[in-house]
Symmetry: C2
Subunit: 197 residues, 2 copies
């Protein structure tokens, strides 16, 4: 069982997101948070899936393996919201958040995460995508959410585990935890492969 086998490794999560920490802890893993300071450069002409895979790899690109224990295992993840062909990342301010949420209102969008897992013997990247349908929101509802929840650290300007997710999500197809910021099922599967190497 993975939770036993993984005890031979020291896990590092390359993310500052409290949601990712909460989810990885809920999966039963002990880990350390390792902040990364990588400039997120978006390559031209790639699909959203290629983009999030690239960004998750990028977060581990600055890691010097020799600075870490032999049994280190790194996890990095990047999540974006895709509406038609536009990629929504974190909003810059209230108006930007309103613009993003207004564009998602009454529509279906896709949440896309890329995950990279790396040890001295294993390195792999995968992605997960979830379709989310929001009902139409009034401007008053959007401002209520923005002012009470201040979603400036969240791709697409919303947290599915917050008020707007409770009252506005009409349905989804795919992984809920991917929308929260970490596709836990994919991470579990990748860690099972990593410990076998």
């Amino acid at each position: 069982m993975l939770l036993e086998e993984i005890k031979n490794y020291k896990i590092y999560l390359a993310s500052q997101s409290p949601r990712r920490r909460e989810l990885l802890a809920g999966m039963g893993f002990d880990f350390e948070v390792m902040p990364t300071h990588v400039k997120e450069v978006h390559p031209e002409g790639c699909t959203p899936a290629q983009l999030v895979e690239h960004l998750s790899r990028l977060k581990l690109s600055a890691v010097k393996l020799e600075d870490f224990p032999e049994n280190a295992l790194f996890i990095a993840c990047d999540t974006v919201v895709v509406l038609d062909d536009e990629v929504l990342e974190k909003p810059e301010n209230e108006e930007d958040a309103f613009r993003m949420l207004h564009s998602l209102s009454g529509r279906e969008h896709v949440v896309m995460s890329g995950v990279t897992v790396k040890t001295r013997r294993y390195c792999a990247t995968r992605h997960s995508e979830t379709r989310v349908r929001f009902r139409a929101f009034s401007d008053e509802e959007l401002w209520y959410y923005i002012r009470h929840y201040r979603p400036f650290d969240k791709a697409g300007a919303y947290g599915i585990q917050e008020w707007i997710g409770y009252v506005g999500m009409e349905g989804m197809d795919g992984s809920f935890y991917n929308v929260m910021g970490l596709p836990t099922d994919v991470v579990w599967d990748m860690l099972q492969n990593a410990v076998k190497e």
Copy 2:
């Protein structure tokens, strides 16, 4: 906006479930928990949707409106797990939980909730359904979950917001919060109708 209009009402939630309380609070409502002690008799020959609608109505059947303030608004909900034609409710013990989870392993099932909302002028019942796909679990994984999480108060013997949901849910179609025990989007919509009456 509903959160303003609902202040004219005193909300009672007819449920002991901590998940339902958490979700209703997360929607921004103030409410009181009102335990109900109704014997859950299953009528013969009804569909799962009819069953959960019936059970949610039943929870409010013993409420004497004259014992409550004029502006009382009652919410009741009942959730079951449906696999093929079998309805799974709460497991009776560890073996029963194992049997249920083993039957859900590597399969798709349906989570069905019925909701009844009632005031002196309004009474309605609706249901919500979500398809959930679990990957195949090893016996060791199922026993790990049962022994660590003791899911005896949960229909189908699992909580989607717990370890087994993180590591085992391959995908879903519908409302995540319905699987947690309260279809928050349906409740929001019903309350909007209730306050208009």
